[in-house]
Amino acid sequence: MPTTSTTTHVTLTLTDLTRMLRESAGEEEGVDLDGDVIDTPFMDLGYDSLALLQVIGQIQREYGIEIPDDAVVDAETPGALLALVNAGQAGQADAA
């Protein structure tokens, strides 16, 4: 279980994200989340905005961080979401 302290920053990996996608929103038939999906749009992976909202909720709970609501719209791919989350974390750590 990752720490929930905001003063220690943990880098979210694609493996973490795909695990949480499966747990929060399930896995579309015919999609292999273990494949090369980092730049595949979430829509092509079978996830709509509500699924993203759900997984972002899980990231926030597990990592004790806050992610802006706009992330659902701004992050169109797993890579973009990871960059957004990890940059935000770095920002929070810098601010601390």
Partner: protein, 407 residues
């Protein structure tokens, strides 16, 4: 001549049988699905018996993407809809894009999902509430999810008339068929077995507090003490008879020949309840007389006053002990929005096989109720059946189903 609505597919999820044939076999054998509540801790409540579906494994029926966003109720409904379509041999994609609709009945919505997320909200905080709470609890959710999964773009809707809803949804489906839509997925499935679904039923004062599963729900008997709730229901595929013929549908369980709904007058009005009028109107709608009805599937509320009112309506309409009356829901419990849909499916199976399923656990009607209550499966030539339902709050619905010549 208006279009004829026929039933070409059935999907049943019931406490005494998962899948149509499994349910029908158990029902004819008088096998009950009532037992002590296991789905939640009911030990603190006065009523502790329910009809639970024990052998349903959601992961075997529901795609991964739908699991986090569906309540138990919606999973059962999606499964029943899949089975109804498979039974009818229909792929909605082969029909006109806007041709297939979906109308189901509902009561309180997906209460188990809703309760869990509200508990998350108040005990942990808003960050712990599922994003899917935005729709997964909603009473229209079964119609929505069935429509999305099967890419239905025809007319859709949801009817909330408590236990009468299963019939009202079939009546509405028939309206759409008459308007020219070739097919409508209809019926109802409910799953109120959680504290949120339980407590309002206790508050109605109509729930049995007898906690022996074989004695808790004894409609029409001298020992009637209320009803037992259950989960499940039936989804039926309603088709225009011509459209079914054109696509070569394998079978027709029967025709939706008559339908009517009435509301009871307010308490204290002195006017009679509306059940008899609903039955009379449904018969008139079907163009049949009481003598044409071969069997009645009763509402069977299970409380003495409501049972007497139903018996009196039947005696007034048919005469004393003039028509066989049955209540196979004694083996499933009352399924709220799913109950009347399951009764309609059961009536169609009875027509198919020429056998009336029994009212389980009941040895006979109370002396003041002059009905021919079927307590053991009875073979009979069946052509036309009347299905009755009453919903808490004054709803009455009646459905006449009849064998169809194309069967």
């Amino acid at each position: 001549m208006s279009r004829t609505a026929v039933v070409t597919g059935l999907g049943v999820t019931a406490p005494n049988g998962l899948g149509t044939e499994s349910y029908w076999k158990a029902t004819l054998a008088g096998e009950s699905g009532l037992g002590p509540v296991t789905r939640f801790d009911a030990s603190g409540y006065p009523s502790r018996v329910a009809g639970e579906i024990a052998d349903y494994v959601a992961e075997e029926h529901i795609p991964s993407r739908l699991m986090p966003q569906t309540d138990h109720m919606t999973r059962l409904a999606l499964t029943a809809a899949d089975w109804a379509l498979a039974d009818a041999g229909m792929d909605p994609a082969e029909l006109p894009e806007y041709g297939v609709g979906c109308v189901t009945s509902a009561s309180g919505g997906a209460v188990e999902f809703g309760q869990r997320e509200l508990q998350n909200l108040w005990s942990k905080g808003k960050e712990y509430v599922s994003a899917y709470q935005s729709f997964a609890w909603f009473y229209a959710v079964n119609t929505g999810q069935i429509s999305i999964r099967n890419k239905l773009r025809g007319p859709s809707g949801v009817l909330l008339t408590e236990q009468a809803g299963g019939i009202d949804s079939l009546g509405q489906a028939r309206r759409y068929v008459r308007k020219g839509f070739p097919a409508v997925i209809s019926g109802g499935v409910d799953a109120p077995l959680c504290p949120w679904g339980w407590v309002p039923q206790i508050a109605s004062g109509l729930l049995s507090t007898v906690n022996d599963p074989a004695r808790a729900y004894l409609p029409f008997s001298a020992e009637a003490s209320g009803y037992v709730p259950g989960e499940g229901g039936a989804i039926l595929l309603i088709e225009d008879a011509e459209a079914a013929r054109t696509r070569g549908a394998a079978h027709r369980y029967g025709e939706i020949a008559g339908y009517a709904a009435t509301l009871d007058p307010p308490p204290g009005s002195g006017r009679p309840p509306g059940l008899r009028r609903a039955a009379e109107n449904a018969l008139a709608d079907a163009g049949v007389t009481p003598g044409d009805i071969d069997v009645v599937f009763a509402d069977a509320a299970g409380t003495p006053a409501l049972d007497r009112a139903e018996s009196a309506a039947l005696v007034a309409l048919f005469g004393p002990r003039a028509v066989p009356v049955t209540a196979p829901k004694t083996m499933t419990g009352r399924l709220l929005a799913g109950g009347a849909a399951l009764d309609a499916a059961t009536a169609l199976l009875a027509l198919r096989d020429g056998v009336i399923p029994p009212t389980a656990h009941v040895t006979g009607p109370a002396p003041d109720q002059q009905i021919d209550l079927v307590t053991e499966a009875r073979e009979a030539p069946l052509r036309t059946a009347l299905v009755l339902a009453r919903g808490h709050g004054g709803f009455n619905a009646a459905l006449v189903v009849r064998r169809h010549p194309d069967a």
